[in-house]
Symmetry: C2
Subunit: 122 residues, 2 copies
């Protein structure tokens, strides 16, 4: 998904909106990052890393770059870098909330039999 050359240049499998959304967000981590930013509104690198799902640092860095290049997230302080410079959702990112809400609702209803300890978070 994210060899440097592909940053900001996704490969579209088709013109279907659903497939195109999955071209960008169809992996195990991107929407977890968005979820964290819906819950907390602002998050640093190490706060992402401490989420219970346990993303590893290289994957986290690559996903943050990816989502930033797509204007789904942004650095709160665009210049002066790194150290304690947290991320937040853009408008485009905030608009993903209904997607995550519907997914969360579906999971709570339909996964509780096979995943007994599932609980509401968002």
């Amino acid at each position: 998904m994210n060899t440097d050359s592909e940053l900001q240049n996704p490969e579209w499998r088709s013109s279907c909106p659903i497939a195109s959304g999955l071209d960008i967000l169809g992996d195990k981590w991107s929407l977890i990052i968005v979820r964290d930013l819906i819950e907390h509104s602002s998050r640093t690198y190490s706060e992402f890393a401490s989420s219970p799902e346990g993303i590893s640092t290289n994957i986290l860095a690559s996903r943050l770059k990816w989502l930033e290049s797509l204007s789904i997230i942004e650095r709160i302080n665009p210049d002066k870098p790194s150290r304690n410079n947290a991320f937040q959702l853009t408008q485009r990112g905030k608009a993903l909330r209904p997607v995550l809400e519907e997914l969360g609702k579906w999971s709570q209803i339909h996964l509780k039999e096979i995943h007994p300890t599932i609980v509401k978070i968002i």
Copy 2:
């Protein structure tokens, strides 16, 4: 995701519903299969394979098994096998429709600048 030993036995990263939904559906192909079954209500192996996204046959077979083991899809004729035995959504699978609708809406609005040929399908 789908070594034989893991069929029907997903690994849950956390108790968060969103993360759990992504544990099952967070890849590039599973929701494409669900989308096809929302559009067409019934589909054979080769019909899936002919969708514009171009899934390869080994990935398709593995995802169909995976989704079937999770009772998201099912064979229309449970016994008498294979040959032209199409798949359909279960209730659990049909309940994913709002998730796909929200994703499709988001993509149409927010991806059209970077993906000019995006069009509505579902």
